[in-house]
């Protein structure tokens, strides 16, 4: 459940996925592409050889017609297997998750294992995986040995989550991924938080507020 007081509402959104699938790149691109009312710097905690050790954080925010400040705090988890404890701690209290998979055919096993760990860690930190807003992004679709989109769609056809094909380096599919997540989050919490009824915020306005383009 998002944290809220009378004037603030904070959504914690987590980019989860196997090592080097492009979670941090997703955040960096969003920072470049978006210009919502409020935008903070990407805070990168610590890296070792360009790999996230703790997490990255990108804060975004806008004001609803009612004056309520809606904040999004986008986190990435460390992808490496060894950092499972950190991953769990970052994942806890998440209101939505983007699973960033690596479209490279050689990474299929890593994708599978990471997705399993997401489901298991959700249970450990008390998140209901079945009802968690989740978007699955296949990144690096431009790689020569990437699994073709049709094959992935076929394989995931039974899954309930939106699929997005992205190239994070160029920004392709990055906003779409975020938009899918925002819509799922709105549908999941909007009613309970009375976003429409009390704050005059429709789903489209919610998405538009967060996704306002940089000029």
């Amino acid at each position: 459940m998002p944290e809220s007081d009378a004037r603030h509402l904070t959504f914690k959104l987590v980019y989860y996925g196997p090592a080097q699938s492009g979670k941090t790149t997703n955040l960096l691109r969003l920072h470049d592409l978006l210009a919502p009312e409020l935008k903070g710097e990407v805070m990168t905690m610590e890296t070792k050889d360009d790999r996230t050790l703790f997490f990255d954080l990108l804060p975004l925010g806008f004001r609803a017609p009612s004056g309520l400040l809606i904040k999004f705090r986008l986190f990435t988890v460390p992808g490496q297997v060894a950092h499972d404890g950190t991953r769990k701690a970052v994942l806890s209290r998440a209101d939505g998750v983007v699973f960033v998979a690596d479209a490279d055919r050689a990474q299929e096993t890593n994708n599978g294992e990471s997705f399993q760990s997401l489901a298991a860690n959700c249970a450990r930190v008390g998140l209901d995986f079945d009802h968690l807003p989740l978007v699955v992004q296949f990144n690096k679709c431009d790689l020569p040995n990437a699994v073709p989109e049709a094959e992935i769609r076929d394989r995931w056809s039974a899954a309930p989550w939106p699929l997005v094909f992205a190239v994070a380096l160029t920004g392709q599919g990055i906003e779409l991924t975020f938009e899918h997540l925002l819509r799922t989050v709105y549908r999941n919490f909007g009613q309970k938080l009375e976003l429409q009824a009390k704050h005059g915020l429709s789903e489209d306005a919610f998405v538009a507020g967060a996704l306002r383009k940089a000029a």
Binding site: L38, G40, E46, F54, P59, V90
Partner: protein, 400 residues
């Protein structure tokens, strides 16, 4: 958990009082004396903010967490001070978030280890229990096998002893019959010889010379002794026959309380002084049984009780009680006699085991008793303490 690494950190959490006391004077000096630090709620950390002061917001994420205020400093100087302060705060928040996250993840790793440990302990316990159970089960089954084997052995022993006893009883009974009959005929013949006593003349003289008066008298005594001996042999043979079930009687409905009374009346004729009977008989359902055998059984046990009291050489009491529940009938015969040692208890049901001197008992009383009980699908057990007494408990199941 409200104190997670991902909470929105307040100025007061990022910089403690001593930090403010170092930063405050330094910035004061740089900004020309008038300087203050407050957080977003207006709480002052350094200096004395005046309402008309210029202020610069400290924004780490989206919203100000605090302000720098100065009335005297130029705008550019205050902004420079804010930028300096932000560099400080960013370093601080990175450190705070990283260390808090590290603690959380260590705790999480520790939790994982604990879970793993608990799982391993549990499985270890399970295997331990399993192995203990297995051990106990093997022991139990070995015990059962040994017991069965012992029972089989006992049963075969009893069967062969029974056959031997039946054969012997039959073989002894025949000569016994004619010896008894001959003895009584011989006694009549001796009576005829006595008539010679009243003869006259030479016959009378030789009567005297041969002391036939004494011989005649002694002959009669000897014959009576022999007859008694024969009777004893006959009784032993009868016991043997009962033990080996040679004379099978027919089954009847009987009240075991009646059987107890009959058995007591048989022993009462030869009851030594100082022995009392006490009855505590509750109403019993009639059961199908062999009343003759049951009488024999009770007789044997009661006789043992009396002998045990006699052996103790003091007055005593035989307490006979009976009761019934849904499943069967329980008869207890308790005496306050000499009791039995552990070794005696072990052998008590063995045929021909006796503690009495030769001629005192054959050692078939309890063996017969057990045979009778087993023939009625019941159980018999002994509970005894030397010098305190013995309780014989007999259980007869009633058909449900």
């Amino acid at each position: 958990m409200t104190l997670g690494f991902d909470r929105e950190w307040q100025l007061g959490e990022l910089l403690d009082t001593s930090s403010h006391e170092k930063i405050g004077p330094a910035l004061s000096e740089l900004l020309g004396g008038d300087f203050a630090i407050t957080d977003d709620a207006g709480k002052t950390f350094w200096g004395q903010p005046s309402p008309d002061a210029r202020r610069e917001a400290l924004i780490l994420e989206l919203e100000p967490i605090g302000y720098l205020l100065s009335r005297s400093a130029p705008a550019s100087a205050l902004m420079a001070a804010r930028n300096l302060m932000l560099v400080l705060l960013r370093a601080q928040i990175r450190f705070k978030m990283a260390s808090t996250l590290h603690l959380e993840s260590v705790a999480e790793d520790f939790e994982s280890l604990k879970r793993e440990h608990a799982r391993l302990s549990e499985s270890e316990t399970r295997y331990k229990t399993l192995s203990t159970e297995l051990d106990a089960r093997v022991k139990k089954q070995v015990g059962e096998l040994e017991e069965r084997q012992q029972m089989l052995y006992e049963a075969e022993k009893l069967a062969s002893v029974g056959q031997l006893a039946a054969g012997m009883a039959h073989e002894i009974n025949n000569p016994l019959g004619f010896v008894r009959s001959n003895l009584s005929t011989f006694e009549k013949y001796v009576g005829k010889f006595a008539e010679m006593k009243n003869a006259q003349g030479a016959a009378a003289a030789s009567w005297q010379a041969l002391d036939l008066d004494f011989i005649l008298e002694d002959s009669i005594d000897l014959l009576h002794d022999s007859a008694k001996g024969m009777e004893r042999i006959a009784r032993i043979v009868a016991d043997l026959k009962a033990f080996s079930n040679v004379d099978r009687a027919s089954e009847e409905y009987a009240d075991l309380n009646n059987c107890l009374h009959e058995a007591v009346s048989m022993v009462q004729t030869q009851l030594p002084a100082g022995i009392n009977f006490r009855f505590d008989l509750l109403p019993l359902p009639s059961i199908v049984c062999l009343p003759g055998h049951i009488n024999q059984l009770f007789f044997n046990v009661i006789r043992n009780a009396i002998l045990a009291i006699k052996d103790a050489g003091r007055p005593g009491e035989v307490k006979i009680s009976s009761e019934a529940d849904d499943e069967g009938i329980l008869v207890r015969i308790h005496d306050t006699g000499v009791g039995m040692t552990k070794e005696q208890l072990e052998h008590a049901f063995e045929p021909f085991y006796t503690t009495r001197p030769v001629g005192g008992g054959v050692g078939l009383g309890l063996a017969t008793a057990r045979n009778v009980i087993q023939a009625h699908s019941g159980r018999i057990s002994l509970d005894s303490q030397p010098d305190v007494g013995t309780t014989v408990t007999m259980y007869f199941p009633t058909p449900s």
